[in-house]
């Protein structure tokens, strides 16, 4: 809790802090009002919340999965309580030039893939970093970056915005935070500091900040719901090399709801085999105590024991102190290659250390993060249920069988009747059109099909009149046509207007969805010109890029645009929220 700018004497402040700790939302709100009332009753002038002369604050976010967007909402609430007049701005809906008017600026932005901005912030980012960007002299700012330390360009967007804002003449009032996957604690700390550092604050703000981490619904990320598995089936037919699971979970009695386009966070449990190999490599004992748990329990549930990154290696060597490892890490390019396809256990085996304690070892580990899966169902079609489409990740590298922790947890470790810990993750960047009359084109190869099953179910249940055109692709027609029977029924019923498929391995030449898009370019162009929404879900590294390119090509071939115009057209489409992506 920030106290640097508190008008209270330390003793009073401590009392206030103690009072605030552990409150529920309702209690905190009441208390905030109560304290405001004190300010008013004592006739003091120190309570800006009542002064009417609020300080303007701009909260700017760039969000891909919805985290940055959600945190912006938290900032707004906290800042409003602290007496700011807060305006939340999505990079996808605005221009960098508008920042000139901002006096106070807080930025939350996530980093994707190889250090890329969120899909919705691509144009904003380019313009902001470009030569034509106006000076921002005197703008007070602080930046919070969201990222994942397993990636090389960790929080690159946060760093870029932070440096650029300073270079443009802004005044950094609080140091940037670089948040890892488990961002909540770092974020809370940053928010507390940044709000405090801006020129307006009140006790109420501290109180509010103290409870931001408290649950706002019965279940959330910090307090996941234990959902029972109702059904689990591998969708791929015998003969396929793929393993795509369809999983149905019960929400009965939880009061939880979601919308098509949302994702479900699933907490995995590490596999016994992985825990055992870590224990063997470290020489730690399974029944050693760690807090109130045994080490084996803690390693199964609490810690990420597979991911390996340069950051983890550095933390590891902070304890081990190996000269060899230090040298290896310093040779960045070679080390990056070494990490590729390897996991934590390989590091431990390559640079062994005999003096681990449960505490020293687990301190280098990150908490076991949940995995997000795009939801494959609509509540309107499946009351009290949520469905997922999960590809089980299994491969062999460097002589060891490896698995995706969460996908194989679902595939191998739990069955119908078991419970998994889940929470809902809203994604406002992937939504059906508001009007059911609007046509939609959906491109979802592989597990990218998931949200479109939800979309089509929703459109069927709401009797939407717009056309629904689905592009699906996978390896083999005979084995890998996910949800085929459902699509055939939707075609028969006229709900699915058209279904276009691309099966890459049924013939000599590889055929992918982008090829099918090009083949149907004229009709796609026509529908987009007629107001259709275009959705893409699935693989980010190749498919989404190829589909993006196909759209540019279609604009040129069928819309008579040149390359620059095609790019602008697609940017405009994105701004209008008619081109939305959920890619990973």
């Amino acid at each position: 809790m920030s106290s640097s700018n508190s008008p209270l004497p330390p003793e009073k402040l401590l009392q206030a802090q103690n009072l605030a700790a552990g409150l529920t939302q309702d209690q905190a709100n009441w208390l905030a009002g109560f304290y405001s009332g004190i300010g008013f009753a004592t006739g003091g002038a120190a309570a800006p919340a009542q002064s009417g002369a609020k300080t303007p604050l701009t909260v700017l976010y760039g969000s891909e999965s919805g985290n940055a967007e959600k945190l912006s909402g938290t900032i707004q609430k906290t800042a409003d309580k602290a007496g700011f007049k807060t305006k939340v701005v999505n990079m996808g809906d605005s221009k960098p030039g508008d920042l000139k008017k901002a006096e106070n600026l807080l930025v939350v932005i996530s980093t994707w893939g190889e250090g890329d901005p969120p899909d919705t912030a691509v144009d904003y980012y380019e313009e902001f970093m470009g030569d034509g960007m106006a000076k921002l002299d005197g703008v007070k700012f602080s930046v919070c970056g969201l990222g994942d330390t397993s990636y090389e360009h960790f929080c690159k967007m946060g760093k870029d915005f932070d440096a650029r804002l300073a270079a443009l003449g802004g005044e950094r009032v609080f140091d940037r935070a670089d948040c890892d996957v488990d961002f909540q604690a770092s974020f809370d700390k940053w928010l507390d500091g940044a709000i405090g550092a801006l020129p307006s604050a009140a006790v109420a703000a501290d109180l509010q900040a103290a409870v931001t981490a408290a649950p706002t619904a019965a279940y959330d990320k910090a307090n996941p719901y234990e959902a029972e598995i109702l059904e689990k089936v591998v969708l791929n037919g015998t003969g396929s090399i793929k393993e795509t699971l369809h999983v149905e979970l019960s929400l009965e009695g939880s009061g939880l709801t979601y919308q098509p386009g949302d994702a479900l966070g699933v907490y995995p449990v590490n596999r016994a085999a992985d825990v055992n190999s870590i224990l063997a490599a470290t020489g730690l004992k399974a029944n050693a105590k760690l807090g109130d748990k045994t080490l084996v329990e803690a390693l199964q549930i609490e810690f990420d024991i597979t991911s390996l990154s340069a950051a983890i290696a550095m933390k590891y060597n902070g304890v081990v102190g190996s000269k060899d490892l230090e040298a290896a890490i310093d040779d960045k390019a070679t080390f990056k290659d070494w990490i590729w396809g390897r996991q934590l256990v390989d590091l431990i085996e390559a640079y062994p250390f005999k003096e681990w304690t449960p505490e020293s070892f687990t301190e280098i580990l990150r908490p076991l993060a949940p995995r997000l899966y795009s939801i494959a169902s609509s509540l309107k079609a499946h009351e009290d249920e949520v469905h997922l489409t999960i590809a089980a990740v299994r491969y062999n590298s460097h002589g060891r069988d490896r698995v995706g922790v969460c996908s194989t947890f679902v595939a191998d470790e739990v069955n119908v009747g078991d419970k998994v810990r889940v929470y809902f993750h809203s994604n406002n960047n992937f939504r059906l059109p508001e009007s059911g009359d609007t046509d939609v084109i959906m491109v979802g190869p592989g597990t990218g099909i998931a949200p479109f099953r939800a979309f089509v179910e929703e459109r069927a249940a709401t009797e939407a009149k717009g056309k629904n055109w689905l592009f699906f692709g996978d390896q083999h027609f005979s084995y890998d046509f996910l949800y085929q029977l459902e699509w055939l029924d939707y075609l028969d019923d006229g709900i699915l207007t058209e279904l276009t498929t691309a099966f890459s391995r049924d013939q000599k030449e590889k055929v992918y969805v982008q090829h099918r898009l090009m083949e149907h370019g004229a009709e796609i162009w026509k529908q987009l010109e007629g107001g259709a929404h275009f959705y893409v879900c699935g693989d980010a590294s190749r498919m989404a890029k190829d589909v993006h390119q196909a759209l540019m090509d279609i604009a040129q071939e069928h819309g008579g645009k040149d390359a620059k115009e095609a790019k602008d057209w697609l940017s405009a489409l994105r701004k209008e929220k008619r081109y939305q992506r959920d890619v990973y």
Partner: protein, 584 residues
């Protein structure tokens, strides 16, 4: 002509000469199926839609449609294939089908497991290999069979030419086949290599013989050369028995009509029937007589009841004399009295023979006509290697076996070496029972199958062989045939032991068929378990071994010994059944 009452008549009528909506169905990539009506029409194109029945339930659970695929039957008049054609079929089986070739009971090649997306290229490639699939199935004259006997090369040459000429003459003329499958852009119709017959009031320019309704039911034609009845002349709609003067002069043919195997369980109006002798014709008259038989069946066949539509019922209803009158009316001449001839067997003569020109022929046993590789028996590879060097031809026999024919003396040693290297040299060193066995395809792909057939008969024979060996009958030929349903593809009702599927694991057991196909069998025991079959046959076979007369065949013995009554003609097939006391 009035369109008959059966559904198939309406489909043919509306099909525009077998086109239907096949092209549209092929373009639909959402399903591996064609429409129900088109599935009837594709039979005329040599294509049956099937699905893998073993995995229907599993696929439904996986939300996948049944594993649809297509069986393609290649028309091979007289069963003769060049080595190059063999290599082409081998390649098509590997690239587009399930990797195996089936030699049918009617001297055709069959491919299984061709998915819809590969149909067009498969059929195009079959045509490039100078075979076709037109009329391989459907209500038309199908593949014309003839005795492949290499020992009488002059006679064989002549009957093969007749088989080819009849096949050409009775081929549908519709341009549909070309339009759908052969994409050379010319739209040219199948070439007419003979004088088109005159057009009557039913036929038309597109189909000068059939007219747009084609025949009421399938129509099968064979040519036999005594003393071999390998083609089972009495089991077919139209037959020609070559009448020889001396060793190598064909003076004419005894024409037979009205044979057929198919029946329906529980419907005594349906029955297998042996063909009647219609009369004698000269070689020059043979084609015209054939066309006349087709046209009488076209006009007099029952188009209102499909189970009563085969020529055998037409002949049964009209009587052979009235039928002959109609044929002679169309021919414009009288048929002669049938000449004498003698059949001795309907099986194949295995092993090597040398003909009078000095060429060699090797007849090998192919169990149930299935050509595929196993680790123990690389049959398909061996035949491919032979085809690469062979300068003669391959002949498919009516018993699903294969003759490597016309091996020049210079090539014999090389081919013998390949045979030996692939364990094919002793293909016929099996019990005479196994060498005289036949089974249809049945499960898992045949939609009509009620019980296993080709996957089961080899095991059942192994059980019966124990009995056979014990009583010293290893070298005594007994014909044994199995089909998965009562339609009779493996001609079970004229074998000495016949099994016809009723339900999974259960068969009707028929006994008493004539050794050279001259007499129908009769039901001995209904719905016996396959696992009980050897036990039931044991005392009968022991009795036969002990009490048979010199040269007496098993079928004849079972009648003489009173196990059952002889079936004198088809309409009596279901009569005189006596519940036996089974040895269980």
């Amino acid at each position: 002509m009035k369109v008959g009452k059966t559904a198939n008549e309406g489909i043919k009528d509306a099909s525009n000469y077998l086109r239907g909506t096949i092209l549209e169905g092929l373009a639909n990539t959402s399903t591996g199926s064609l429409s129900a009506d088109d599935q009837q029409l594709t039979k005329f194109h040599g294509i049956y839609q099937q699905d893998n029945r073993d995995i229907r339930r599993e696929r439904r659970k996986k939300k996948l449609e049944p594993a649809y695929s297509f069986m393609i039957r290649v028309r091979v008049p007289g069963g003769v294939s060049t080595p190059q054609q063999w290599l082409d079929m081998d390649r098509i089986a590997q690239e587009h089908a399930n990797g195996a070739i089936k030699l049918t009971t009617r001297q055709a090649f069959q491919f299984h497991g061709v998915i819809k997306g590969n149909l067009k290229r498969s059929i195009a490639e079959i045509n490039e290999a100078l075979f076709d699939t037109l009329a391989a199935c459907g209500d038309v004259n199908r593949n014309v069979m003839c005795n492949p006997n290499p020992n009488q090369s002059k006679v064989h040459g002549e009957v093969l030419r007749l088989a080819t000429d009849i096949s050409d003459h009775l081929s549908p003329r519709t341009g549909a086949y070309h339009d759908i499958w052969i994409d050379d852009g010319t739209g040219e119709k199948v070439k007419v290599t003979y004088d088109p017959p005159k057009i009557d009031d039913i036929a038309d320019e597109e189909e000068p013989i059939y007219g747009k309704l084609y025949l009421p039911r399938k129509f099968k034609t064979v040519i036999a050369v005594p003393p071999s009845n390998d083609v089972d002349i009495y089991a077919h709609d139209l037959g020609y028995i070559a009448i020889l003067e001396g060793d190598d002069k064909i003076v004419g043919y005894n024409v037979t009509v009205g044979g057929g195997m198919g029946m329906t369980h529980g419907n005594e109006e349906t029955f297998p029937r042996l063909a009647d002798q219609l009369g004698f014709c000269t070689p020059e008259q043979a084609i015209l007589v054939g066309e006349a038989v087709v046209r009488v069946q076209r006009d007099f066949g029952n188009r209102d009841v499909r189970t009563n539509a085969r020529l055998k019922y037409t002949v049964e209803r009209m009587g052979i004399d009235a039928f002959r009158e109609e044929v002679e009316k169309l021919c414009g001449f009288k048929l002669g009295e049938p000449r004498d001839f003698k059949f001795e067997h309907n099986g194949d003569r295995y092993g090597w023979i040398e003909d009078h020109t000095g060429n060699f022929h090797y007849t090998m046993f192919i169990e149930n006509g299935r050509i595929y590789d196993t680790d123990d028996y690389p049959l398909m590879t061996g035949l491919r290697e032979i085809a690469k060097t062979h300068d003669g031809d391959f002949r498919l026999t009516a018993n699903q076996n294969l003759i490597i024919a016309n091996i020049s003396p210079a090539k014999k040693a090389e081919i013998e070496k390949i045979l030996e290297a692939h364990k094919m040299l002793d293909s016929y060193e099996r019990s005479a029972l196994r060498l005289n066995s036949m089974a249809c395809v049945s499960l898992p792909t045949c939609g009509l199958a009620l019980a296993e057939s080709q996957r089961y008969l080899p095991d059942l024979i192994t059980e019966i062989d124990e009995v056979i060996e014990n009583v010293g009958l290893r070298h005594d030929a007994i014909t044994i045939r199995m089909t998965g349903c009562p339609n009779g593809c493996a001609r079970p009702y004229i074998s000495e032991i016949g099994f016809v599927g009723r339900a999974p694991g259960k068969y009707n057991l028929y006994l008493g068929g004539g050794f050279h196909g001259e007499r129908l069998s009769k039901l001995y025991a209904p719905s016996v378990k396959g696992t009980d079959a050897a036990k039931i046959l044991k005392p009968i076979i022991e009795d036969y071994a002990k009490n048979r007369e010199e040269g007496e065949h098993f079928g004849d013995f079972t009648i003489r010994a009173g196990y059952l009554k002889a079936t004198e003609n088809g309409r009596d097939f279901h009569k005189d059944f006596v519940e036996p006391e089974l040895a269980l």
